[in-house]
Symmetry: C2
Subunit: 607 residues, 2 copies
């Protein structure tokens, strides 16, 4: 061992001990004939004192930032104490030191506030990883994993490894494939998730399975997606939806406790997908604050008790009356916004990312009067009725968007989140969990004129919808009228867990009967032959005593980033890839040898 | 929840309780108007009693093997108790039951002694996994993983995930490669191990890293190899070899304790590679028994204190005198072997797998006389001298093989293991650990006329050999004389852990200086350009304060199989592949779509 102690453990109680430390030079400070060096390792920083004698050696062998040093000396009490760090009351008065390795001057500062840009830090990721901020993220990630494993172990889950070289069955996302040298012309695929394997483990009776496992999707990398990512993957036998919800809100609460020291004792809120879409405009609402959306044309959609004001919306004001949907939110305490402020908000919703043509506002003044950008069309009483419908109180500012339903709903949702942020209602250290339930089983892909599974093809419909699913599937003559088809109303036994407006996990009760699974594949446009080719093993397994089962998968990278208070999952991955799927540090992907092509019996076919 | 209790937890203390169980039908036994069913789940088996009333329902809905059943009733004391299982004193007198799913008749028996052949069980692996024997293996695997994680956690190791989509740098084994759609013409490789990444983590100061991680090698699958396999992968900073040995014998002892209940208190034996090769004929000796090899031509190689009997070996007996090497073992207590028995052994060593031309034996009779198959060439006194040199006592049988050094050593090693097995000296429940140390750093590949790294190119030479490594590398004129080159004597700071004759782990202290790493690459025939292309990131990292470090990796599958008392790692993998690298259950690898080829911009090039 090159050390007897780490740089994080010595304090006033160790004074007088002779110790050897090893670590990296963080700073070198000369004071006349003596020198102070801060020595850093994973565990902390300890101050070293080079006295006059050793200082001469230092002059012969000058230390630079990030040099690797071994140093022996006596723990002494400091005169100038630093109360901010655990080792701040002592220093080591050195008797000897040895430079174990030198360092070039790093291309950026190894400090919390670094001067290195993203690209530079990624190229020198091994230096970036030395920064405290990054180290804390990886420590948090380890703690989340450890907490997860402990909780699941205590609840009888078994970690069982599933294979990485599997079969390509692209459904939705693209597979990464791996040419097989031993089976020329054939390919493995890397798993997008261990879905079918964990279901087979349930058929095999393993009862409670988990894995913290890498998954792969060859998708174009929008912001903050990675081609390889990690899932906490779980499955249980003989359960109903309620059992899964209770087991896994338990998991997340345990993680809160172990990792953040938070007692999350309240019960986790629940909301149907329908409610989430109408009240918050998206399926992963941030419920740290209210400001719900009000569908002013059909307020019953959102606040069943509110008065119907549809007549006001279908009045002379064409912007409202001609719009498919009119949605308002009541922003608390903003009635005194200036013209400049409301103009700025109008510009904000007109940006291409939001895409609205304009915005209407109503100021609900503290004195009980109302002032609006559409005073020409509505009198004060009418404005009050609209503001009331939107749930506004005196002092609030009602913001109203109008247009096509889907876009308007999405835009109002974005506006709500923006206002929540501006008003400090999305607090970094507040954590609010939510279950979103009762998702539709299917979505309709109008361009392909077929149903697609909203979650995945293994998700079970609600028991009450099974009959419809099996017996009521008339052909669709006109794709545009798919909403009239019985399948449009089938609800799934599926659930998403949402944390602060981010989907952190999702799952479902699975289909476990061959007939129903075949119906599902059929609904997705897969004929019997394709079913057999892709999923014959699963259909076969369902004939040999498949138990009722269900599960969930959490996005591990995302969960860590939210707990760590960051927007970016990359900050929580030791060696992430960039938006082109490249690891710029090792320079991968890269070309391969002619011999490799030859052995794999493939060649390039570049366009 | 479909159950209130599992099938493994009820006993005499639960009598009188009303419970609901869910599981699989193991057996159905009719006795007149009543029926007994053994219901099985992961946790155990519980007997269900269908009384006369329910029996009628059973007749309408007959149960078959592996049906999935939910059953409610009262826990009752059995009249006919089964003391062999924890639930054997009770049964459930049912009040109701429900068939949750039916099952076809399984293609083989779901029992410890199954009638299913290997191929059939692999095709229906989801049924094979239901067998107790397989389930116990996976439970053991989980326990080994859990124990490993706990020990490493307590010792400050952090689990840090390294990437799976990396760069192809084939050295020795072939890489599996993955075409990159986003970077046409380029490929990722799947990691053969996280070697360079864990070293970078040390450069980054993470101090103690571990991972239980999948690795990939595209090699022809000899018996009991898998294209994907799992490693316990570890690395430490600021350590010397001794620190690693002590940390990781601690790990294995902890696993023995947690998983097998074994207190392995003795210290782990150590042996140099040289000793292992001469005394046991291979680098992973089974030291549960002695029977060491004696090099009769140069007995000093093995037993330094033994008399030199080389003159007897270089005598008139051509089989000995003309052989490069003559090696004997003393098999205890076998002096009374019959002619038939010694003939059979002679045939055994002549089989092609062993490849010897014959075998000489000397019986050291209990009465002090000697009898041999070469009585014509040696008198009794000479036979005694040879037998003494081989370490034989009265009652032993000395077996001697002669021929080319490498083959003879290997053959004698095989013979030793075979005799150890026949004599019951390789006890299944005895575990003996051994460190093999001081491996040569290089091997010479005569056909390619170049050095190859015996362990891997990142392994450090012994400190005393570093100077030779850097400054003493003359060109080799004649490949056959490579042994005279200074590099042939360089020893590595490398170590293997051996358990009962199997290598379960191996590692080394790493090179951490750029200059030495370049020398190593150079020795392996890599020019500066190739070094930069393949390992530029690592050489670069060594310039920014790389600390001394080292590590080890354990073969997780192999470790589990030995602890589980099995020869085959497949028995300890949930979904293994066969010898052609196929998963016959899901039928992978398989063909992919034209669209996939198109997007990846590759095509087949079948010979």
């Amino acid at each position: 061992m090159f050390r007897t102690k780490t740089c994080g453990e010595l304090n006033i109680n160790n004074v007088g001990e002779t110790v050897t430390l090893a670590g990296w030079v963080q700073t070198v400070r000369k004071f006349g004939a003596i020198t102070f060096v801060d020595l850093r390792d994973r565990y902390g920083i300890t101050q070293l004192l080079f006295g006059e004698e050793l200082n001469k050696d230092l002059e012969a062998n000058p230390l630079g930032r990030e040099f690797v040093l071994q140093a022996t000396g006596k723990v002494t009490e400091r005169s100038n104490k630093n109360k901010n760090i655990p080792t701040g009351e002592i220093e080591i008065t050195l008797s000897s030191f040895k430079i174990l390795n030198k360092s070039e001057v790093p291309p950026f500062k190894i400090e919390d506030d670094t001067d290195g840009g993203d690209d530079l830090r990624m190229k020198y990721r091994f230096l970036d990883l030395r920064r405290n901020a990054v180290k804390r993220n990886l420590e948090l990630r380890y703690a989340v994993g450890r907490s997860t494993r402990n909780y699941l172990h205590e609840n009888n889950f078994m970690d069982i490894e599933t294979p990485f070289l599997i079969k390509s069955t692209p459904e939705g996302a693209r597979d990464f494939v791996v040419p097989s040298r031993m089976n020329p012309g054939e390919f493995y695929a890397l798993p997008q998730s261990p879905q079918t394997f964990k279901q087979l483990l349930m058929v095999s009776g393993y009862d409670r399975y988990y894995q913290i496992v890498k998954c792969f999707r060859d998708e174009d990398l929008r912001a903050d997606r990675q081609p390889e990512f990690t899932q906490i993957d779980c499955e249980m036998c003989f359960v109903e939806q309620e059992d899964i919800l209770s087991m896994f809100e338990g998991l997340v609460k345990r993680i809160f406790k172990d990792v953040k020291g938070i007692d999350y004792n309240e019960s986790v809120e629940r909301m149907s997908w329908e409610e989430a879409m109408w009240q918050f405009g998206n399926d992963k609402p941030d419920i740290r604050f209210g400001m719900q959306l009000c569908n002013l044309k059909f307020p019953a959609h959102t606040f069943p008790t509110k008065a119907n004001i549809a007549h006001l919306i279908t009045s002379d004001f064409a912007v409202f009356s001609e719009a498919e949907t009119v949605i308002g939110i009541a922003v608390p305490g903003c009635s005194e916004y200036t013209r400049k402020q409301t103009d700025e908000l109008t510009e904000w919703v007109k940006r291409p990312q939001i895409g609205m043509k304009g915005m209407v506002f109503i100021k609900c003044n503290a004195d009980g009067t109302y002032k609006s950008s559409v005073d020409k069309f509505y009198n004060e009483q009418q404005l009050k009725a609209i503001a009331d419908a939107a749930g506004a109180k005196a002092g609030d500012l009602v913001l109203i968007l109008a247009g096509a339903e889907e876009r308007t709903r999405k835009a109002t949702s974005e506006l709500r989140l923006e206002m929540g942020k501006r008003l400090g209602m999305r607090k970094e250290n507040e954590f609010k969990l939510l279950w979103v339930l009762d998702f539709p089983l299917f979505e309709y892909a109008e361009e392909d004129n077929r149903w697609v599974a909203r979650h995945h093809p293994f998700t079970s419909p609600k028991p009450s919808d099974i009959d419809t699913m099996i017996h009521n599937n008339p052909a669709i003559e006109n794709a545009a009228e798919y909403l009239k088809h019985p399948y449009a109303n089938i609800k799934a036994n599926a659930y998403d867990m949402v944390l602060n407006g981010n989907e952190i996990g999702g799952g479902s009760i699975r289909i476990f009967q061959r007939e129903l699974q075949e119906k599902m594949f059929e609904a997705l446009g897969m004929d019997a032959e394709e079913q057999q080719h892709k999923f014959g093993f699963l259909l076969g397994a369902f004939e040999y005593g498949a138990p009722p089962h269900g599960g969930i998968a959490f996005g591990f990278d995302r969960l860590c980033s939210i707990l760590g208070g960051s927007e970016s999952i990359r900050d929580f991955i030791a060696f992430p890839k960039n938006n082109s799927g490249r690891d710029v540090m090792i320079d991968a992907p890269s070309t391969i040898d002619a011999k490799q092509f030859d052995e794999l019996q493939i060649k390039l076919d570049l366009k």
